[in-house]
């Protein structure tokens, strides 16, 4: 009550102060959970064909970008979402926050990697899946056998040696939890996570940190994703990349237009670009599976049949159960936060 009076008073005092923001080129505010070291290449490629559009990035991990978009629902600040988990975009779609749009290259996009609606609410870019980074030097020093499956990770020998991303803040963390539940069924999956929790040294904010911590041996085993694992190994870290035998959790990085954008034309051009062959060739440099079939070249550090390792994943289920799963997860594992 009182605050509105104060604001009205202020408004009259300041008057036209807010009118000082006019721009020549179109500026798109793009929300993303892409890795910082990927953004630059994608942006450069986009600007080659769209020099008149300037991108303003808002970058954070999947959970945080999702929370931010939900919080701004009444008054969205983003124009486009470029590079966010499809399981998150499905939630936003359900809330009616996305404008469906069929980008120019839609016919060549694999039907698995776009939303089922026509025109689609979101269109996939690439697939990212879980991978374990395993520090071989520390393993030898500490006598740790190399795990090959998710089940191996619950062995008592790994107590305190494993890091994984927090599923509420990190998309990589959530895709693991969601895959375990889908593969094992609710009861067995929670029992598995109870056992795994005993071995976890830390839950990290981002999906990349576990692999980087494995790289330095701070924690010898990091549950991360394949892009970061491959990149870290290429940078010279003494790690092996393990794809657990039961199957990999995975999600799609995708693009969508935010409903209510004032720059719809520019937003459409970015959506067109994100689905184009030129963009796919950029994604291919980082990921083993991209949304347009036949573009990805095998990475020597990953098996050629990488796509076959992906577990069965129901996105509708993963997104509609996200909140329930995260609440249960936080109840089980955050209350046990004792000093270690």
């Amino acid at each position: 009550m009182k605050t509105t009076v104060i604001f009205k008073l202020l408004a009259t005092i300041i008057g036209t102060g807010a009118l000082l923001s006019a721009h020549a080129a179109t500026t798109l505010t793009v929300y993303t959970a892409l890795e910082a070291d990927q953004i630059k290449a994608y942006q450069t490629e986009f600007e080659k064909t769209n020099p008149d559009i300037e991108i303003k990035w808002v970058r954070d991990s999947t959970g945080i970008v999702t929370a931010k978009l939900m919080a701004e629902k009444a008054n969205p600040k983003a124009d486009v979402i470029w590079g966010l988990a499809a399981s998150s975009l499905a939630i936003l779609d359900k809330e009616g926050m996305l404008t469906p749009y069929a980008p120019k290259n839609l016919p060549s996009i694999d039907a698995k990697y776009r939303s089922a609606a026509n025109p689609p609410a979101w269109v996939g870019m690439d697939v990212w899946g879980s991978a374990i980074c395993f520090n071989t030097v520390e393993a030898q020093k500490q006598g740790l056998p190399k795990p090959t499956s998710w089940a191996d990770l619950t062995k008592p020998i790994y107590a305190g040696k494993i890091v994984m991303p927090h599923p509420a803040s990190s998309g990589t963390g959530y895709l693991d939890v969601s895959a375990w539940i889908q593969m094992m069924g609710e009861d067995k999956a929670w029992a598995y996570m109870d056992a795994l929790h005993k071995n976890i040294g830390q839950y990290t904010h981002s999906g990349s940190k576990p692999c980087k911590q494995a790289a330095t041996g701070e924690f010898p085993i990091g549950i991360a994703f394949e892009y970061r694992a491959v990149k870290t190994k290429k940078d010279g870290a003494p790690i092996d990349i393990i794809l657990p035998s039961e199957g990999l959790g995975w999600d799609i990085e995708a693009t969508a237009i935010v409903k209510g954008t004032k720059n719809l034309d520019a937003a459409k051009r970015l959506a067109d670009f994100s689905a184009s062959r030129a963009a796919m060739e950029q994604y291919e440099k980082n990921f083993a599976v991209v949304a347009v079939p036949g573009i990805a070249k095998p990475d020597p550090l990953l098996p050629a049949d990488y796509e076959k390792h992906l577990s069965k994943n129901d996105f509708v289920w993963a997104s509609s159960n996200r909140e329930r799963i995260l609440t249960e997860w936080s109840k089980r594992y955050e209350s046990k936060a004792e000093p270690k």
């Binding site: 605050t3 604001f7 300041i14 790289a215 936060a337 000093p339």
Partner: protein
């Protein structure tokens, strides 16, 4: 000099114009003070009201206890309060005795190289609170230099304790240095005449005389620790504390109400401290009587030797933390590839905002120090040297002390609630550099204000009276006499604001946008992404920048300042 400047005017003006001239001065001073009051209302009082109403109101109605019940209902919440209180108390219990020994060594012994030890002990002020966290990982983490000592337990209570000890040490030290600076030598003479042992003298003379300082230092360390989230964010591990929880609620989960409630909880220890401290300060006034003789320490080999060792040991520990952070920023892949490299300084390929973050921090530090010095110093002068209605003066005095009692985290949240309100016409400031500067000036207002007031009190009020009777306009007296006389204090304010703005995280973390990301925030984000090397690199850069600016202001401008200050020594020579 001034009379000659005023002469042409006085020649032109009739004697009767004395009155309008006085009026012009009064109007100028009055309107400037009103402006200052408006600024403080807008950037301090209204944001605080905003956070209060966010936490306590539900759509404009009194929300009652419902939000609190909901907050406490979470089984994780009360243990978290306990952990926060515990680690803050433990830090204070560790830091205050150490800082006391250090201050005692500097003030009451004849230990050598005092200014060196003092300089080292103040170094932590130049670094963001994230730096000790990073250093601790390299020292005691699972791959740390001394990993056997802690065996992985650095993540949690011990990490926070040690990190906060580093971060709060200089703050406690400054209070205790001033508490130990003055003592009545007659009391010590009396004690030794009565044959009291050294320990007895210490217990019955020194300790009682400094108990307020000890209490103040304890409260300050406690408050700083409980409201800081830089250290626990990095080495807290699973040891959740309130400050991190408030940060996570707002930045991570966009739960603003929850953030506001925790913010209010964090305000309690700060307000208690503030209240108790000002009450105690009033009581302490009569400690030094006019007949007191200043105590000068005498040579005492054994004591001086022991204290030299203490000074050396603590300084070495502080330097070790800094050296480790700098080392971490230069090593390729700790601990496997120890080649030296600058690759961690290639910020543009990392999370966190790249070099833009660093340049933004420089802009913020420059903006805060320049705007802040002008506003705060002029404000202090107006309050000290010009007359106005008592209510205006008293209100201003109260408001300039308020920032000291408000933790950065609470102020930052208040700014979010106030400036990001869709109905606020100042909403356009949100996301820009102006709001960051405004917030930083408010955050560090009180300390800077006190420095200005102390300097202004040393100037004879006769200057204003003399100038006024010579019909020199008020602003000219201010610019040509007051400012030059107080130049050292003004430069100290400038330095303090620059360094504080360079290193702060707590208030600005809620206010930055992609275009105004800051260096200290980049450190936090890079650590989140697992890039500890680059995080160490950015911390190093912040530390070096603060150090260079401090030294420049100290030495570069020092000689120039000395010339304007010749009057201080001139009077003492005869």
């Amino acid at each position: 000099m001034n009379s000659s400047a005023a002469r042409p005017e006085s020649a032109n003006l009739a004697a009767a114009s004395l009155l309008p001239k006085r009026n012009a001065d009064a109007i100028l001073a009055g309107s400037l003070k009103t402006l200052l009051l408006l600024l403080l209302l807008l950037a301090l009082v209204l944001p605080l009201i905003a956070i209060l109403s966010q936490a306590l109101l539900d759509h404009g109605n009194w929300a009652g206890s419902a939000p609190w019940v909901h907050l406490i209902d979470n089984p994780n919440f009360l243990p978290m309060v306990g952990r926060s209180l515990g680690v803050a108390a433990a830090t204070a219990l560790l830091v205050v005795p150490l800082a006391y020994l250090f201050a005692y060594g500097l003030q009451r012994t004849l230990a050598p190289c005092k200014s060196l030890w003092r300089g080292i002990a103040l170094l932590p002020l130049l670094a963001p609170s994230l730096l000790p966290g990073i250093a601790l990982i390299y020292l005691f983490g699972n791959q740390g230099l001394f990993k056997e000592w802690m065996n992985g337990s650095i993540y949690g209570f011990w990490g926070i304790l040690l990190g906060e000890a580093f971060y709060t040490f200089p703050h406690a030290l400054m209070i205790l240095l001033s508490a130990l600076s003055l003592a009545d030598a007659r009391l010590y003479d009396a004690a030794s005449a009565m044959g009291a042992s050294q320990w007895k003298t210490f217990r019955s003379v020194t300790l009682p005389a400094t108990r307020y300082g000890i209490f103040g230092a304890f409260c300050l360390v406690f408050t700083l620790t409980i409201t800081d989230f830089g250290v626990p964010k990095i080495v807290g591990g699973a040891f959740n504390v309130l400050a991190v929880e408030a940060y996570k609620a707002v930045v991570g989960q966009q739960q603003f109400d929850r953030g506001a409630l925790i913010g209010l909880l964090l305000l309690i220890p700060a307000l208690l401290t503030f209240g108790l401290d000002s009450w105690l300060q009033q009581r302490q006034r009569a400690q030094m009587s006019s007949r007191a003789e200043v105590l000068r320490p005498r040579r005492h080999w054994r004591r001086d030797g022991i204290y030299t060792l203490i000074l050396l040991f603590i300084s070495a520990a502080l330097l070790l933390m800094i050296a480790v952070a700098i080392g971490a920023s230069l090593v390729k892949l700790w601990p496997y590839n120890l080649q030296l490299t600058l690759m961690h300084y290639d910020f543009d390929n990392m999370d966190g905002g790249g070099w833009l973050a660093y340049w933004n921090s420089l802009r913020l530090a420059l903006g805060t120090s320049i705007v802040g010095t002008v506003v705060i110093f002029t404000g202090a002068w107006l309050m000290e040297k010009t007359r106005s209605s008592p209510w205006l003066g008293n209100t201003l005095r109260l408001l300039t002390f308020l920032p000291m009692a408000v933790p950065g985290l609470v102020l930052g949240l208040g700014f979010v609630f106030f400036f990001n309100h869709p109905d606020n016409p100042l909403n356009f400031l949100y996301g820009g550099m102006t709001i960051l500067i405004l917030c930083s000036v408010m955050h560090f207002y009180t300390s800077a204000h006190l420095t200005a007031v102390t300097a202004l009190k040393q100037i004879d009020p006769e200057f204003e009276a003399a100038s006024a009777s010579l019909k020199v306009p008020l602003w000219r007296t201010y610019l040509r006499i007051t400012v030059p006389l107080c130049l050292p204090a003004a430069l100290e304010i400038l330095r303090y604001l620059f360094v504080s703005a360079m290193t702060t995280v707590s208030a600005v973390i809620f206010l930055y946008s992609p275009n105004t990301v800051l260096a200290a925030i980049a450190v936090l984000n890079m650590d989140d992404a697992g890039d500890v090397g680059p995080a160490a690199a950015m911390s190093t850069l912040i530390l070096l920048t603060s150090l260079v600016v401090s030294l420049l202001l100290h030495w570069g401008l020092g000689s120039w300042v000395k010339r304007t200050q010749a009057w201080r020594t001139a009077g003492k020579q005869h």
